[in-house]
Amino acid sequence: MKEQPLDSVNLTIPAKPDYVGIARLTVSGIANRMGFSYDDIEDLKLAVSEACTNAVDHAYSGGDGDIEVCCSIFGNRLEIEVIDRGHSFNIREVEERTGPISFEPSMNALRERGLGIYLMKTLMDDVDIKGDNGVIVKLTKYLRKNEVEPHVKSPASYPYR
């Protein structure tokens, strides 16, 4: 049976550049509450922004649409799904083009875009991208035990505080 999250926080934002920062703030708040380290919180903010930015850029071709940001809080990890209902893309093809930047004689090889997926994969413990009817990007980051400060209780213990 699929493990159920302890809590979920869902946010729907318009697929516009103006609102990507809202998703970032939300995830930052949740990660902070869960006891992630400063660096991990920053990594989560960046990864969720990259996922939202991709949706803003590609999903609706300039038309109106929404992005759903679904945060599932587990005892040992945070899972964030960034979902759009726009155009999906050829994931294989995009993934093959991602990677760190390397210096090449031809400056055209120096990409101005396409770093987003690479950053997500580098900063998260797991990234799963599915595209069929729109795109679902699932980001997973595990809590490292020694990072949890003693006074931070796991979400399951909220009612007993």
């Binding site: 550049p17 103006d18 990507v20 920062g21 970032r24 703030l25 660096d39 920053e42 903010k45 960046l46 922004s49 990259e50 939202c52 930015t53 803003v56 850029d57 760190p100 930047i101 390397s102 210096f103 400056m107 120096l110 990409r111 101005e112 875009r113 396409g114 770093l115 987003g116 690479y118 950053l119 580098t122 900063l123």
Partner: protein, 111 residues
């Protein structure tokens, strides 16, 4: 979630762009508008990032664009004042080996 961009010209040093805030998909166009026109005539352009606490791939894209423009006209693009967080992103993406970065300590160096 906004960005402030200021420009200062120094006859000897060149132009410095001071960026403050978060550079993301919403604010990166403002940086592009300010920075790219300065990268046309082969001069030296400094970008002071000491008050930037967040940058993502769209912001990096603007800096890559400026770097390319500077390279094409034999100008220099120099980034200064990066915090540890930003340095990490530049290392991860490999950009630290491409774009000229001035150490914050050197920049703040006091006698």
């Amino acid at each position: 979630m906004n960005v402030l961009i200021k420009e200062k010209e120094d006859a000897q040093k060149g132009v410095t762009i001071f960026v403050e805030g978060e550079v993301d998909v919403y604010t990166a166009p403002q940086l592009r508008e300010k920075l790219l026109p300065l990268c046309q005539n082969g001069n030296t352009v400094y970008v002071d990032l000491s008050k930037v606490d967040y940058i993502d791939s769209t912001g990096l894209g603007v800096l890559i664009g400026a770097y390319k423009a500077q390279r094409a006209t034999a100008g220099r693009l120099i980034l200064t004042g990066m915090n540890a967080r930003l340095s990490r992103i530049f290392r991860i993406t490999g950009l630290h080996e491409i774009i000229e970065i001035e150490d914050r300590k050197q920049e703040d160096g006091k006698e």
